[in-house]
């Protein structure tokens, strides 16, 4: 039996999910879907920043292109911390392919043009 707080809406139902993926404590159908997802394969989008060179920006914000398994968050963070990218970078550009062999890319979430020469 696992317990979760449902985040589908502000009501915040306390969900119980048993071994057979039977959900109780949910007010609506969406809570059941959420409960099963959290009990069987919880995933999260990871957002962070990476080092960037030749840009007005000091840090480039990035994210995983899709949600990744919750237990891989710290492995993905370690990979992100080792990245340095040179400007220019376009928003949505792939910064690192197939991070931790998860089939997910790390992508930029902001444009970073080249630093203007003075």
């Amino acid at each position: 039996m696992s317990e979760f707080i449902c985040i589908v809406c502000p009501r915040g139902c306390r969900l119980q999910v048993d071994k057979n993926n039977k959900v109780t404590g949910n007010f609506c159908k969406r809570g059941e879907v959420y409960g099963i997802q959290e009990a069987t394969n919880p995933t999260r989008v990871v957002t962070s920043t990476v080092r960037i060179t030749n840009s007005e920006l000091v840090r480039l914000p990035v994210m995983t292109s899709r949600p990744i398994p919750k237990n891989k968050i710290f492995a993905v963070m370690e990979a992100i911390q080792n990245i340095t990218v040179p400007a220019p970078v376009q928003m949505r550009e792939v910064i690192l392919e197939n991070v931790c062999d998860l089939g997910v890319n790390i992508i930029a979430t902001r444009n970073a043009p080249l630093k203007e020469e003075v």
Binding site: P10, F27, T47, T49, R59, P61, N111
Partner: protein
């Protein structure tokens, strides 16, 4: 002196939406003034995702949400200035601003939209006793240091206040390798969204101490320890519940206050509860031609509603410039039982069929009825399964149901 139809103060989520909306109403001579070296405001330091679910029907990060709006602004060739501070406004709508390229500039506006955002409450605002060492900072400032400037702020962190920024920063610092020892909240319930409680605290086993606050801060040059303790219903410390944490950083997420120094100086009427200007349903302040929107009007929890409010102010300001803004004798809007504030504070337009009142409740409620009343007559009733102070609510009604005079009140009817 140069004349501009509409000056928008602040190039964040509210200001951008206001400028775009005013332009789309046919006012092309607009100037946006932004103090930071970039447009987008606080969104750019909010690198997490979850923005735009209402407005764009997808989950964006802060910088992406900001980009959607800056792109729209640039498509319309709306003029803007960065690194620019507004120094003064007069009631005849002349405005002084300064930047390093143009120096000190005077311009005449036909309407001004204030979208200056809010500021964080600091340690001084809540009077925490103890030493005054380094390492104590507000959560939003820490977020900027970390996500924009790239600093590691600390390694052993405690967070006071369960507001959303505090929760987001708990996760952010944990992901960057810090030890986040806990979050203390003086109220018996969390002030953050459920989603943030789950995904920022519970995911990382960060404890949440409800009905707890800081009793003492200890540290010579940098913060070394804090003592937290449980409080009773009167927020008095309960003896024997003290707990000590060794930390090097304390983040404060203890509330936001609308920031309106220029409007206050000008004498615009400020509401004691929202701390923002008193406005009518056109978002016009007590000085004709000055409009307010976004977090400088009242603190929002979702940026989508900030954009919506910005667009509303932009439209109204455009109508004002075109001399088409109709006003009727004002009807006062008041907060009744269970409601901590309402917005707007006056209904004046009656151009539209519907009126809309935004409000917050004073504590969590379940299975209650919301009532809009005028002169003790019920105008509208609405059942609500749950209401939370952390979530702004909206109730609408029809102007044709209202009487000529008497304040309109919104209240929560207990069972």
């Amino acid at each position: 002196m140069k004349t501009v139809d509409i000056v928008v103060i602040g190039g964040g989520s509210a200001g951008l939406a206001a400028a775009i909306s005013a332009y789309d109403q046919g006012i092309k001579n607009i100037l946006v003034l932004e103090k930071e070296p970039y447009l987008g405001g606080i969104l750019l330091q909010c690198i997490h995702n979850g923005f735009g679910l209402h407005h764009f029907k997808e989950e964006l990060t802060g910088p992406e949400y900001a980009f959607r709006y800056t792109e729209e602004l640039q498509k319309r060739n709306i003029d803007y200035r960065l690194n620019t501070m507004v120094m003064d406004i007069s009631s005849d709508l002349t405005l002084h601003y300064a930047n390093t390229e143009e120096g000190y500039v005077f311009i005449q506006a036909k309407a001004i939209i204030c979208a200056t955002g809010c500021s964080e409450r600091t340690r001084g605002a809540i009077n925490i006793p103890g030493d005054r060492p380094a390492g104590i900072l507000t959560a939003g400032l820490a977020q900027k240091y970390m996500n924009i400037d790239g600093y590691q702020i600390g390694k052993k962190v405690f967070i006071l206040g369960s507001g959303d920024i505090g929760l987001i920063m708990a996760r952010r610092m944990r992901l960057e390798g810090a030890d986040v020892l806990g979050v203390a909240e003086i109220m018996p319930y969390s002030n953050g969204l459920n989603r943030n409680l789950v995904q920022c605290l519970f995911d990382y086993q960060i404890p949440l101490y409800l009905s707890h606050t800081i009793k003492k801060i200890i540290g010579k040059t940098r913060v070394e320890k804090i003592v937290i303790a449980k409080v009773d219903e009167q927020f008095q410390f309960i003896e024997g519940t003290e707990e000590t944490f060794e930390i090097d950083t304390l983040l404060l997420s203890v509330g936001l206050i609308p920031s309106n120094p220029i409007l206050e100086k000008l004498g615009v009427n400020i509401h004691p509860r929202t701390k923002g200007p008193i406005v009518d349903d056109n978002l016009q302040t007590s000085i004709p031609g000055i409009f307010a929107c976004g977090n400088s009007l009242h603190v929002h929890d979702l940026v989508d509603f900030v954009s919506e409010e910005g667009a509303q102010a932009g439209k109204a300001a455009a109508l004002f410039v075109k001399n088409q803004l109709k006003t009727h004798p004002p009807l006062k809007v008041e907060n009744g039982k269970g409601v901590s504030y309402v917005l707007p504070q006056y209904l004046k337009s009656r151009d539209t069929e519907q009126f809309e009142i935004r409000f917050r409740v004073n504590k969590p409620y379940q299975n209650v009825t919301l009532i809009v009343k005028q002169q003790n007559l019920v105008i509208k009733k609405m059942r609500k399964a749950f209401l939370f102070p952390a979530e702004m609510e909206v109730i609408t009604g029809k102007f044709c149901d209202l009487m000529e005079n008497g304040p309109v009140t919104v209240e929560v009817e207990d069972e």
